[in-house]
């Protein structure tokens, strides 16, 4: 803010222009999509397709590409994906049907490349969508991702098989539905920060991820959590931590 004010003081910026810039600044507190924030935090803002028409989604995606060079659309149906692709013919479109995300970048956009890795552990096939959303965000932030999939249903042994790998990552996202105990188990095995991502599986009392969320906030280990199915938030939060670590590495080199 000081920079802008100095520019006003020395006449290099008109009060009107300054007001526009400061408006952008002042309002970032509300946390919505704006290019300034993307630039500052490196987190691509998500456009939640759910509850929007394909046309509306595409219009917002175009605006995002224009201001930040990139658009990240989450919870996108095939129709949403098609509308975005049609509206942005000059963009590279990257669609992950499993995670229901679409990423559109203009040709000049350059993804960052951070020296940090996030591990994503999933308890089962049902966690794939939320975990995939986290994965896309991390890739877009320039963070490497190591996934250990389907730990819960048929291959839990892989947690320990990959223990060395998981201990080497900088942050761990653990997705789980039902009673949500997997993040607690994982947090006991590694030294890295763990983010619990509750998934809307389970049925009956406490189903749809509520028991998983409660189990994670009541966990007797050290965890922080995000909303049920909030893969984007889990990924972005892990990415911010990874970026901090990468920054520390870079600074000291």
């Amino acid at each position: 803010m000081r920079d802008i004010l100095e520019a006003v003081a020395d006449g290099s910026l008109s009060p009107a222009e300054a007001e526009a810039r400061l408006a952008g600044y002042a309002t970032t507190g509300a946390g919505r999509f704006d290019a300034a924030r993307e630039t500052r935090r490196g987190v691509p803002e998500a456009i939640l397709a759910e509850g929007k028409t394909p046309d509306e989604t595409a219009t917002i995606a175009v605006a995002a590409v224009e201001t930040s060079g990139r658009a990240l659309v989450t919870r996108a149906s095939a129709d949403h994906a098609e509308a975005v692709a049609d509206a942005l013919p000059d963009c590279t479109i990257d669609r992950d049907a499993r995670a229901k995300t679409v990423v559109a970048c203009d040709s000049s956009f350059e993804r960052p490349d951070l020296d940090a890795t996030v591990g994503i552990v999933t308890g089962g096939t049902s966690d794939a969508e939320a975990a995939g959303e986290a994965s896309v965000v991390l890739r877009e932030m320039g963070v490497s991702v190591e996934r250990v999939e389907d730990v819960g249903v048929a291959h839990l042994g892989r947690v320990l098989d990959h223990l060395d790998l998981l201990r080497e990552v900088d942050v761990l996202i653990v997705a789980a539905g039902r009673e949500g105990a997997l993040p607690t188990v994982a947090a006991g095995l590694v030294d890295t920060p763990v983010i619990g991502l509750p998934v809307s599986t389970g049925y009956g009392h406490g189903g749809d991820g509520e028991a998983a969320l409660l189990g994670m906030v009541q966990s007797c280990t050290v965890l922080s959590v995000v909303n049920i199915d909030a893969g984007y938030i889990a990924g972005a939060q892990a990415g911010l931590i990874a970026r901090a670590v990468a920054g520390a590495r870079q600074t000291d080199q």
Copy 2:
């Protein structure tokens, strides 16, 4: 685990001793107090005094000091504090009445000293207990703490006054009750990871921190959260992130 097995293979460890050690290893998944974990993660396990008698609390604290050199008791009444002090006459006792925590260390215990800082922002006087709990845990983990207190009631301007400071910290804990909007506001102003700590203020519908928790998990910014009033968890999670950053700094030097 491999180390223990190799030791068994070469005869330097008996199967019985190995079993005892592996038992400790295998059960850390449940995330309870054990010295091994304290050593590995650097997080002092919390002994929740609430719901225990002073005597029970003191007994567990003694066990903690014996195995890890240190005991951290949270939500301790004056009676709990006294019982711990009486039971550990040779320990340095450090009591924070505001945060209702007691820390007891034996004389040989040496607190780590990490090159990392966590900022703790509180919305008001009512958040002091939860924030203080976070603060004590961070100090015990060897992390520097910068606090910006009472932002909400009479001195909100201090958020911006301390903006430079807050942008320099490695992680930010933001405690808030009522509608829990402060973490959202803060997360829009800084590039660091933000952990939302909902506090059990507020009354009526959604009171006791429930609205704050919901507001944080539904936030349209990037945040991870902990349970209502879970200052210990917020502090420890921030500490793990800070430790990762400090580790990155150290590694590269």
Copy 3:
């Protein structure tokens, strides 16, 4: 009531007629659709199409036009709209597909024209339906409407761009989903009364507008709120306030 009784006392009204009129009077307390109230408060009663068949909706609309010259149907599907139009061939039909409302007026109906303005701020595309409902009601009450749309997703800067405008309106409706923080932010920037309109977006814990409603009732600013997605109520309440202000202007001129 006194007027009716005086008329009975002087014989100009029979007891039977008086009873019928008083019945209407006494029962307005229950707040349902009746022409008397529309006349008195200037608020067109809403016919909620949801949960009614098109035929039922049309029948009630016809009754409304007959008694009050106008029918306002909310949450109307295309079928509802068509049935209303078919049943009222002599009416001007005004359908807002986005807000899912249908207004039918007979040719002699004259909309009032009040010297007051209500601002409607929306956090995103998903809030369009609720905000549109409010907008239609206000127009029907004769109140001018200023809308600032899609503040949340790609154009939040427009809040400040339109700050002068928003400060000039007499009442502000702020619609928001997710954590519902936008009304709190807006209420801090203007001197006018703000009505929070929670919208059923958001997913997971506290989704479907519950977190937004909680956040608004727990807000540490001054707000009153309406039910989730209750655009009609928000609009009508804002209209009553605007009418009071317009009345004050008129009275004094």
Copy 4:
């Protein structure tokens, strides 16, 4: 904001001073206590004593008096009240034990005097605290208050007895517990905006004001509501509406 920027541009304000002022400006969005807002909206900020020690409360009250000439403490026990009085020996202290509020003003403080009236209707003795809180806030905002008390238990006839009076007020606050039907009844009898204030009476399923809140948000009349027992918010919102009406009267004179 433009004024400040113009001042910077013409050199009459240094960038540093401008930043401090803009900081205050930008952060008002979070809605906490600050003198600027009090000046702008005329709403005295409330200091919620509940959950604070008497000393903490007094300290904040002193800060409030210093910055805005006045402190309004809600939900104050006798101890809170005494601490505030002791800390502000030069202030006029006005304590309403029923509403559990304390108002402290320095000698030079001049309360505004608005040409507008708010009516407060209560359903019974149990609503007195919430209604009294609203009443104090309105008085402090300079708005006249007309109260119709204990309508529900022994004197409901007084609603109609006072009907002329209630129709003359500019805004109506209706407090009610149990099933919360009184605001719905009242809103059917008057043309003024009605604010429902649910009160934490009632027992069993939906007790503690939850049924009252639900009844009010589901009301088929036009109402806006505030949180359970939120007398301060109801009063301040009614005061803002009353001020708008008073402003319209004044402007046109």
Copy 5:
């Protein structure tokens, strides 16, 4: 029970037969469908079609007709209705599509004729299904029904128009959705027992009949209530009361 035992004692009933009869007796406590109860209470047991296939529904209906001469199927789709009619070709089939009920009687079945009347008041079109279910049950119990329909939306004046009628009925069922205030209003106007029937209308917080149920159980008038949309229960309970009144009339004649 004594009768059966006396019969066993005097040899007119074998122990085996007695056991079968007592079994039926003892288990009526669980309140399920059995012919004995229908005979005793005169309440036709309802077969809830929802959650059953048409075939299953028809099979149970056949069993009901065989044991009690009559089958009453509630919440029946067109498919359920058709399956019942097909399975009972010799029965009189009476289907109320609005109330989604099907009644099948064998030719010899004779409906009772009680000297008692129940009034059913509905707040609007959306209450028609629940009210219709109550109406069918009452007719089957031999109780006269007086309906005052659509009171809430366009014809509330009819409550008072029909006040004499409503005061003459023996019991009043009042169906209402949204905030559920209509039973409270009605109970204040009549001397007869009132049964509140909450209906699953309303949206947002407390929608789907929850606010209506809460408003009715928290009502400050005298009411008893049934489950949301439980038209069958409301009708049967009113029928039992009406039968008691009719019995008193008959007894004394």
Copy 6:
């Protein structure tokens, strides 16, 4: 209402007096305490002492005695009882400490005597307060009461022991906590209408009467219910039914 209007028409009543009377009439819909209703329905209005000071309670009780000859105070502590007795020295005071009720009647008050009986069945000692409240109301309405106490804990056999008695009563109130199954069991054994009265016993999930209320509204027998612990409402509703039956008996004699 017609009577009043006819009186106005023939000059025997002034419009002003008529308005006052009609006001009382019109507002009874809100269901609060007024002498007119007590006269009409025979239900003594309850003054809920809980949440009122002894003085407030006594003041309202005095008003009740003045207008209706009687005051019924529920949930009264010893202090409430003493204050009522002190304030009404000329009244007969009847206090039931178990049911926490106080009844005060002036010397000229004559309790009605109806030819009808209500049975009250309780599941255990913990239900005594709610059942006692119902019992007092019934006595005041002039209805005979038959109680079968403590069925649940040590003497359940008494349900069947008293089966003849219970089948002879006109209405049955069944109070139960925990899972609330007793009303379902009882309703299967008798032909009379049953009112379920859930009681706030039970602990853990669904405790405090919530499971009992749910069990009763979900009951597959025919029951209507009242709020948790709402002994007064259960008693008054049973009394209204009993009065209807007594009226039928009287009418025909």
Copy 7:
């Protein structure tokens, strides 16, 4: 039942006596205290002292001893315990202050001795009360108990230390609060049936045992659960299973 009927048929039992016996039989379905059931199932009925006065508790205890030779009082304060002891001077009184239970037996009472063992695992000191309640019930049923205490806080290694022991028991009760993961962990290590006993520890969202209960019902292992803090039910259910196993052992010998 057949036996009784045969006795009536052959004249060895009068119809009146038979009715009394069958009444006891028929009503056991409601599951309350009766000597017949104690005899049949071997489960001493619990008298829940909470919510009863000491006198009431003692009276019921005396009745229990008279009919079944034994009384088991749960959640008993010191006052309850004393009252029971005073009322039963000839009984052996066995009080477990930790589990808040009192057992009183007359001198002739002989506890059964079953060849079966139940293991009780507790997660921490806070689980002691619920676990102790289970332990007392099991002892009274004649089942051996093996306890592994305080697994969660300082000695989790003891789970594995005692693994052989735990695998040898016939049933396992696992008590846990917070996120309730311990039963899931234990069920993965043993082949015996596991009963989860959620305990009302934990704070914030999902505290008071709700998260533990949800975690257990959503567990992806095989578990059955009881209510929060329902130590008596957990113990009795485990005892019934143990008795079945003991019976199988005995039968075959």
Copy 8:
């Protein structure tokens, strides 16, 4: 574990192989699908088809057959069933459309045959799916099943008709929706352990099985429960108990 360590100590097992085996051991605590557990507990792990695509389900089923010789798929649509059958052409496929389960076994798989029986009582047609799931699991575990179906709607007398049979089974599963009283009734009639299986029937307040679950956990009889609709868990838990009984029988022979 000791066996593995001894093998390492004597060189018959390499540390690497030991680590792999111990990993499997250590992780069984999380309770997911693994062949080791199936072998140990005899409970076929369930593959929940709901929320998985047919392809994903088939892939996991193939893995299950490969590791354990058998796959048990629950909540399988016709598409899921077909995909499993296609993927396992050499398997015996056993599909229960009612219970929505598919069992696939390779030709060499031999189901155990235990000397124990479980009874399954259902309250009505709607409980068939959950009960059928329990039945399939029990059959797969080698336990005999006795079913008493549709007790609730038309044939409740069959509970007593089959009383001898039900008393002979070793464990009883009782499925019930609505108010969930059937397990309480059944538990009063038999001496065997009863497992309550709440079913998602019922509508309105407490519908979808919530009232049934609450009624069962609040039951005053001795019951343990499983999640709503959790037929698999109920069956497996009953199977473990039955296996313990069968083991006791076998051991002693």
